[in-house]
Subunit: 319 residues, 2 copies
């Protein structure tokens, strides 16, 4: 076993931090580490917390961490959110609250704030969750800023997803309603002491009531004032109910099966393209670009011909 | 030549609509159509208009269409935005304004409101732009709701990108600032008759002033009240200046070269994986999922082995 993996399994935070850095930087050795870590997971529940910027996701996450710690859990947090206080983008009061939980030895927080590669972040955050699980976190929180498809992909790494909105997020909720309805297991209207909270709850419940929930989990709509700790215990209870429901109905194993299948396909696709495109050099590309820019052929034809050539030589013995 | 392509080149709207549907549905014959259409493009400038939901992008687009029509241009519009009035998600007043331009024979509007496949939308919207160009649109407007990475990818299909914000979008602009700075060629603060407009202009200009713009295009920050048509002429003039600057500096040909290169690589990657994974059947996947769920191996190892097997047989002669 890789000594670094051994140290992660023994619960050494600095080793975990190094492994995660290797995963994030997509270092080639990371795959060997991930391979070993994967088999040491204990299937910790993964809880996604998503919503528009400013909805108070981090404050809610901090509240959830406190309750989970009271219950004796070891908590891992992955924050994929450039606006998250965990990523340093915070106002002072938030940061004070964060620090308190961040200094707790039973909590490991990792922020992944790299913008510009969100596509890859969906895979990377899954991998970081695997490392956290092997490390011994028995509850994993995944905070994402839920505004685009890629962020929703990240959220789907979770077993249960909490969608946080505020009374004022009317416009963006409207925009995302279809998408949010698909991923939310629990809706939280945070900052519920503000005007419009009840209307927002009502809007969400009306939208939910239009669907047929027979044999399915109907997301509850909860109110919180996360900055004062109000309503967070109820969120945690709803998460426990959802986890129990998933277990009883077989949804959890179904979901994990689907997820492993998708992951194998994705990794196989990557490995195949990597192997084949390793033979596709820059000069070959430039020649093809020239042909397209001269109007000789379209990129569609160029790619088709190139792919055929690459596959032809992919297994030819090296000279 | 495909008779449908011929009809598109003759400017027949119904033929164009059919071609676009085939592109959107990713029908296999679409590639042959795209191949022919690509070579009949006249390099129409592509103008992206992006920003958060409710910023008034569609109203601005409508205003731009009017001005471009006055100048005698034929205009194509692609709206990749589930909240766009072009996609039917409009309030009444907007829709009246839209209808007026939509009925103009010199305007072709296509909305692509399909949520849930935004990854593919980046390619698809490029392809639709190619079809519009071959059809004879000499100005192409691309409206996207700019909140996530995938939407930004769509916006990057444009030669010039207008980022629209409103005085109130403080939070989300903060969140997206880095991303927006990267893609904006022109900033528009719309609904500039509202409180906070000058502060938003000032904030954007301060952020811009932190960067070194030597030999680069510094995005102007313009104010509009698109619903009253105010300031839109200035946006169009800024777009013309940006286009002229790109032409003079060689940026345009550089950008198009990069874009064709990226497209060829992407299409080649797709063709390679399609060819190889065609041999990867469901039973083979299920067996690998079982092994992973039983803890025999990780998805990483499973994918590595599978990819090697697939590549081994990819070129074996069929029995």
């Amino acid at each position: 076993m890789d000594p670094l993996v051994e140290r992660v399994l023994q619960g050494e935070k600095s080793a975990l931090a190094r492994v995660i850095s290797r995963i994030e930087n997509r270092e080639p050795q990371a795959v060997a580490l991930l391979d070993e870590l994967f088999l040491h997971q204990k299937a910790a529940p993964r809880i996604g917390v998503t919503g528009p910027p400013g909805a108070g996701k981090s404050t809610l996450v901090t509240g959830l961490i406190r309750i989970l710690r009271e219950q004796g859990h070891r908590v891992g947090v992955v924050a994929v959110d450039p606006t998250s206080p965990f990523s340093g983008g915070a106002v002072l009061g938030d940061r004070v609250r964060m620090n308190e939980v961040a200094l707790d030895p039973g909590v490991f927080i990792r922020s992944m704030a790299t913008r510009g590669s969100l596509g890859g972040l969906a895979s990377t955050s899954r991998e970081v969750c695997e490392a956290l699980d092997a490390f011994g976190s028995d509850r994993i929180l995944l905070e994402t800023v839920g505004v685009g498809q890629s962020e929703l992909d990240v959220a789907q790494a979770a077993d249960s997803t909490v969608v946080v909105v505020v009374p004022e997020s009317g416009d963006s909720v409207q925009a995302l309603k279809a998408g949010l309805m698909e991923i939310a297991d629990i809706f939280v209207v945070n900052k519920a002491d503000r005007e419009g909270a009840d209307r927002m709850v009502h809007d969400l419940e009306s939208a939910l009531s239009l669907k047929n929930w027979k044999d399915r989990w109907k997301p509850p709509v909860l109110k919180t004032v996360a900055s004062r700790g109000e309503g967070i215990r109820e969120v945690n209870e709803a998460l426990e109910r959802h986890a129990a429901w998933q277990l009883e109905t077989g949804q959890l194993s179904h979901r994990r099966r689907e997820s492993v299948g998708a992951r194998i396909l994705e990794l196989t696709r990557e490995a195949v393209t990597r192997a084949v495109l390793a033979k596709a050099g820059r000069p070959e590309l430039e020649a093809r670009v020239d042909a397209v820019l001269k109007g000789v052929e379209s990129p569609y034809r160029a790619a088709e011909r190139w792919a055929a050539e690459l596959l032809d030589t992919a297994n030819a013995p090296s000279p």
